[in-house]
């Protein structure tokens, strides 16, 4: 599969709709372990992207750069800034490209994960969106059905970390109480990925 301008726009539509749909759910998940704004962050960021959809250039790199800026401008929440950092990382790599092969995606995700890790000064394994990205990058690399592998990976990441304590971000202070609870950022990534791959 090849990612082009149109594919990107269609994915934006689906992700925007998913974030609208999951508004309450993500706020509630974040409310249980943080400040309850993750639904706001994601729906507002995606709405801003959606609003400028018509103006996004064909150049995928530049388009992603503008998506990143939408997140930096609409939100100062950790997740918004991390999303922006990850998108910026991919944007830099892809600048000037109008189409990219799906096979390039795992590496882009791994690079984004690393940049986000730097930005958030957090370890892998801390039960955050970083772990979802880590699972994604591994599962998608060399998979036959990348979409299915991606959708599976975000589920598996949630399952594997559910019973670990959070050690990063606002959720950290819940310590042991966070055991058994899903990380809101991982839930958000699950929704984003499933909407992106349309599964």
């Amino acid at each position: 599969m090849t990612i082009t301008h149109d594919v990107l726009l269609a994915a934006i539509d689906r992700i925007t709709a998913a974030m609208q749909r999951d508004f309450d759910r993500l706020n509630a998940a974040d409310g249980a372990l943080g400040d309850g704004d993750l639904g706001v962050t994601m729906s507002r960021g995606m709405r801003a992207i959606s609003d400028m959809k018509e103006d996004l250039p064909d150049d995928i790199g530049t388009a992603l750069f503008q998506c990143a800026q939408a997140f930096t401008k609409t939100s100062g929440s950790s997740y918004g800034t991390l999303m922006a950092t990850g998108l910026m990382s991919a944007a830099k790599t892809l600048r000037g490209q109008k189409a990219i092969e799906a096979s390039a995606i795992p590496e882009l995700i791994a690079a984004a994960r690393d940049k986000m890790q730097e930005r958030g000064k957090a370890e892998l394994g801390g039960k955050t969106v970083l772990d979802s990205l880590d699972y994604l990058a591994s599962a998608m690399a060399g998979a036959d059905d990348m979409a299915a592998a991606a959708a599976q990976a975000v589920d598996t990441a949630l399952d594997d970390f559910r019973d670990k304590p959070a050690t990063v971000g606002r959720a950290r202070i819940f310590g042991e109480k966070s055991i058994g609870m899903d990380d809101p950022g991982m839930l958000a990534m699950q929704s984003v990925v499933k909407a992106a791959v349309d599964l």
Partner: protein, 333 residues
């Protein structure tokens, strides 16, 4: 708890519009975002700038403390949300008059990421930045992980003292070192009785039974060290002082300031009832209380509860605490 507002998404913009309209002698907006507040009258040229930033819903924190002898600029986010990196960069730009800018703000993940990003942005414009993170809340991590603690009401001591040091004309290194010293001198703890509602969420930030309280709860409703039956004022004040004094040992001759802060709905009547115990405990420890602060200095809108901040002074900090300052919410001298 009911709120007086129009559209939830306009809450912060309308609040800032009203605030700058009410106090044009103190505050004005800067830049395009509409979320960066700076002094109405710029500080002296060549003065080190001090900026802060954080979520809305904590007035007078953060924007309120922009003013003479205090802060130069502030980037303000949505309620309980970090402002964006671009807004922080704008605040830094406005605060810089060539002597560099201290970023002085609370230790929250989103704010740290964004202020870091903002620093990278203004680096290209040759603005030198330093950082001091405020991490005074003893309930949020044990002493050996003190750098993980979140910043709460104690930040106002750092704003005040660093602001006075900058006003004196000290350079960026000196102001930064002083701000760190002020930050290190403060320890805080809070107790919450009722939640508040983030306008866009529309629901209380947490739930708590009518006869319960939570010791050590954070200002956004982050969980504390215990939840249990609502205690008497004297018990609450006693435990809070125990926890602070465990971290700030005092001996005869020590001089301290103390902040007894309402989280919002709790009225001054109750703060004064608590202050009886605060004063007794500090004096029993041999300390002299300097300029106690009792009121609403750092809030979470209509949350009910209190926080105490203990700030151990030396001669330098005491002089800076008592130096003149002026903003719409606090003036000294």
């Amino acid at each position: 708890m009911k709120k007086i507002l129009n559209k939830p998404e306009d809450y912060v913009d309308e609040m800032l519009a009203g605030m700058t309209a009410a106090h044009p002698e103190h505050y004005k907006l800067y830049g395009d975002s509409g979320k960066v507040v700076v002094r109405a009258k710029a500080g002296k040229g060549g003065k080190v700038g001090i900026v802060t930033g954080g979520g809305s819903g904590h007035l007078p924190v953060f924007t309120g403390y922009v003013g003479e002898g205090l802060l130069d600029g502030c980037a303000i986010g949505d309620v309980f949300s970090s402002p964006s990196a671009e807004q922080m960069a704008d605040a830094i730009r406005a605060a810089d008059s060539g002597a560099g800018v201290l970023r002085l703000y609370g230790n929250y993940g989103g704010d740290v990421m964004n202020f870091d990003m903002a620093g990278e942005l203004v680096e290209f414009e040759d603005i030198t930045c330093s950082t001091v993170l405020l991490a005074d809340d003893v309930a949020s991590a044990p002493p050996d992980e003190a750098q993980k603690r979140r910043g709460v009401a104690g930040m106002i001591y750092a704003f005040k003292m660093a602001g006075a040091a900058a006003e004196e004309g000290r350079d960026l290194d000196a102001v930064t070192a002083l701000a760190q010293k002020a930050a290190d001198a403060c320890r805080s703890i809070g107790a919450a009785l009722s939640p508040c509602t983030v306008p866009q969420a529309g629901k209380p930030t947490f739930e708590i039974a009518e006869d319960e309280m939570e010791m050590g709860m954070g200002i956004h409703g982050e969980p504390g060290v215990w939840r249990g039956k609502l205690q008497t004022a004297d018990q609450i004040a006693g435990e809070m002082m125990d926890r602070l004094l465990a971290e700030v040992p005092l001996t005869g001759g020590d001089r301290v300031s103390v902040l007894v802060n309402s989280l919002g709905a709790t009225p001054p009547e109750e703060l004064y009832i608590l202050y009886r115990i605060v004063k007794t405990r500090l004096e029993d420890a041999g300390a002299t209380i300097v300029m106690p602060l009792i009121g609403r200095y750092a809030t979470s809108m209509e949350m009910a509860g209190v926080s105490f901040t203990l700030c151990k002074l030396d001669a330098e900090l005491e002089t800076l605490l008592k130096a003149p300052c002026d903003c719409a919410f606090w003036s000294v001298g």
